[in-house]
Symmetry: none
C-alpha cells in the first residue's frame, strides 16, 4: 500500500503484526471512542455496528466479544461520557471563592464544558429520546451526578448567609437554569442556527453568549423584586 522510499511516520505500535492487537484495553477504548462518535452522530437506532467496526482497528466480531451487544456498547459509551463530566466537575473547587465569583465560575465552567463537548450533549439528547432508559438503570450514573446539586446547594447557602444572593431558589432549579442556558445552544445549534441564520459555533458569538448567560444567572441571584 505504501510505496517504497522514505517513510517518516512508521508507527511503532506492535498491534499490526499479523493483524492482532496486543492491547485489549486499548482496543476497547478505541471501540468506545468510535462508538461515541457514531451514536452521537446518528443516535442509537441510527448507529450501525458495522459502521463502528469499519472505523476501528478491529472487526464487528470484536465489538460483540468485548461488549456483548449494541445495547451494552451504548450503555458503556453513555457511562463513560457521564463519568467524564463528573470527574472534571470535581476540579472546580468553588469553596475558596466568594459566592458571586464562585457562581460565575460554575456557570462559565458549565458553559465551556458543553461548548467543548458537543458529543456529550448529543448523547444526552439521544438518551432523552429513549426516555433515559439507561440512566434509569444505572445507579452509577445517578450517584455520580447527584453531587452536582450539593455543589449548588452549598454555594446558594453560602451566598444567602453572606447576604450576597437575594433570591429564594431551589438548588435543583438553579442547576436546571444553568444547564438549560449552556446546553440549548449546543443541542439546538442546527435548527436554531439555520432558522435564525446565525453561527452558534462562531467564537465571537460564543464569547458574547458566555458573558450573557453568566450575567443572567448572576443578575437573577443578586437582585430581588
Amino acid at each position: 500500500m505504501q510505496p517504497s522510499g522514505e517513510v517518516e511516520n512508521l508507527t511503532p505500535d506492535l498491534q499490526s503484526q499479523s493483524g492482532r492487537s496486543r492491547d485489549p484495553e486499548r482496543t476497547k477504548q478505541d471501540i468506545l471512542d468510535v462508538a461515541t462518535e457514531e451514536f452521537a452522530a446518528k443516535g442509537y437506532a441510527g448507529g450501525r455496528v458495522d459502521a463502528i467496526a469499519a472505523r476501528t482497528q478491529t472487526t464487528k466480531r470484536m465489538i460483540y466479544y468485548y461488549f456483548g451487544s449494541k445495547e451494552l456498547l451504548y450503555s458503556c459509551v453513555l457511562a463513560r461520557a457521564y463519568r467524564r463530566i463528573r470527574q472534571i466537575e470535581e476540579y472546580l473547587d468553588l469553596e475558596r471563592l466568594d459566592p458571586e465569583t464562585a457562581l460565575r465560575r460554575l456557570v462559565e465552567f458549565t458553559f465551556d464544558y458543553h461548548d467543548a463537548h458537543p458529543d456529550f450533549v448529543r448523547l444526552v439528547m439521544i438518551e432523552n429520546i429513549h426516555n433515559a432508559e439507561y440512566v434509569k438503570s444505572s445507579e452509577e450514573v445517578r450517584n455520580a451526578n447527584r453531587p452536582a446539586i450539593v455543589i449548588v446547594k452549598n454555594l446558594l447557602e453560602r451566598g444567602r448567609r453572606d447576604g450576597v444572593f437575594k433570591r429564594e431558589i431551589e438548588p435543583v432549579d438553579l442547576h436546571l437554569m444553568i444547564s438549560a442556558l449552556c446546553y440549548y445552544r449546543v443541542s439546538n445549534r442546527h435548527t436554531f442556527g439555520t432558522i435564525f441564520d446565525c453561527d452558534l459555533t462562531d467564537p465571537r458569538v460564543r464569547e458574547r453568549q458566555r458573558r450573557m448567560v453568566t450575567d443572567t444567572i448572576a443578575s437573577f441571584l443578586l437582585t430581588a423584586d
Copy 2:
C-alpha cells in the same frame, strides 16, 4: 396456518371497509398524527413505517401512496409541527402591552407552549440529531419561524426607547435564552428528572419554574451591572 405470533400478511379484515376510505385528506391527517407520535417517541431511525401503518386506519401501502417515502413523511410531520407553533405565536399581540408585561407574556407563552407540547420538543431534538437537514432544506419552515425574532426585536427596541430595559442584547440572544429555559426542562425531563430525582411534570414544580424563568429574563433586562 399461522399459530400465534405476528406475521406480516395478516389480512386487514374489517378495517378498510370495502377496501377504500372515503376521505383522502382525513386519511393523510390520520397518518400524520400517528407518524408524529411515532417519530416523536422513537426518533427518525427508530420510528417504524410498519408501526405507523398499524396504528392507522389505512395500510402501509397508503403511506407510500400519499407521502412517497419515510423521509418525506418525516418532513411533512416536521413542517406541520413548525407551522403550528408559528400560528399560535401570531395570537400573542404584544404590541398593545407595556414592554415588561409584554416580555413576561412572551416568556410565559413560550414556557406554556413547550410544556404543553412535549412531542414538538422531541421532534426538534430529533431534527437536531439529524443536523437540521430537513429544516435546512425547507424554506417554508425557515420563513415561518424567523418572524419570532422580529417580535423580540420590536419588543427590545420599545423597551429600550421607554428606558425600561437597561441591557444591550441581541434579539437572537434573548430569543435563545427564553427558548433554552423553556425547552430544556421538557427535552431533558427524563435524564434530569432521573438523576436529580425530581418530577418536572408536577404542576407545582411547573408553576415554580414558570415564575422563576420569567423573573430571570425580566430581572436580566430590567437591571444593569
Copy 3:
C-alpha cells in the same frame, strides 16, 4: 438452462413470469413441504432457513413473510404432520369389524403409516428432543390426537364384552405398545440397522416384522396367563 428442441413437460404454471408466484397458497405449501424435509433431516437447530429457501421457488424473505420466524415455521410443519396422521386415522372404520380383525387392522394401519412416513417419525423424534414444547403449546394437536385412545378403548371394551380379549389392559398402554413396535423400527432404523447389520427398509424384512408385530399384539390380548 434447457437446450432447444422438443420439451415435453412444459409446466403450465404461471408463476415464473417475472419471478413472482401468483398463488400464495401454493407457495406456502411449497415452503412447508421443503421445511418438513429440512427439519426432518437436520432437526430444528440443525435446519437452516437458507437451505429451505434455496430449495423453494421463493426467497428466504418470503418464509418470514408467510411464517414470521423459524420457530413458527417449525410449528406449522409439526401441526400439519400431526393433522395428517389424524385425518387418515378417521378412515379406519373399525366398528364394523369383529374385535380381532379390527385389532389386527389397527396395528397394520399404524405399522404401514409409520413405515410410509419416516419424516413424520423423525419430526416426532425432534419434537421429543425439544421436550414436546410445541405439542404442549398447541391445543389443536392435543385435541386432534386424543381420539386415538377412544378408538382403542372402544375396541378393547368390545373385545372384552365378546370374550375375545382375555387381558386387562389400559387403552393408553395398548396404544403405547402398538406405537412403540411400529415407531422404533423407523426411528432407530440407522443405529439398529448399522449395529445389527440389517436393512429395515427391505420389503421382505418389513413384511416379516409387520406380521410379527401384529401377532405379538394379538397374541397378548387373546391369551391370558
Copy 4:
C-alpha cells in the same frame, strides 16, 4: 467496563486455581459428563460448546485441546454411552436360568436400563437424527453391541430346544421388539405424555408397563397361532 449482561471475555476468576488443573483424566471425564448432558438435552446441532465449557471446571479452550472439535467430542460422548450399556449387559448371566425366566429377565433388564438412563435414549435419538453417522464410522460401537444379538440367539435356541418357545422368530426381530417396547416410552415420553395426558415417569405406571411389556414378549414366544 461492562455493565450487566453476559460478555464473552469474563475473566475466569477463581475456578482454575493457579491456572491449571492437576488431573487431565479427571478433567476429560468432567467435560464428557457435561457434554453428555448438553447433547442429550439439546441435540448435536443445538448443543453449545460454550454451554459445555461454562458448566465445566475448565475453559472452552481445553475442550479443543483434549477433544479437537465439537464433532469428536460428540463421538466420545456417544462411544462412552454405548460402552456403558454393553458393560452392564455382560452382568446379565442368562445361561443359568430356564428359558422363560431368562427371557423375562432380559426384558426387565432392558426395560430398567432404558427407564434409568433417559440420556442414553436421547443420545440414540440424536444419533438417528444424524443417520447414525458416528455409529457407522465406529467399529468399536458396532463390535461392542453386536453380542446382544448372540445373547438373544442363544436364548431363543435354548427355548426352542426345550420346547418352551413355540414361535419361529429371528433373533434380531426379537431384540427389536424388546428394544422398541422399552425405548419408546422413554424416547416419546414428552409427546405421548402430553397428548394422552399421562405421566410416563410415574412409578406406578412404570411398574404396570414393565409387567405388561414382559408379559407381551413372553406370551408371544410361549404361544402359537
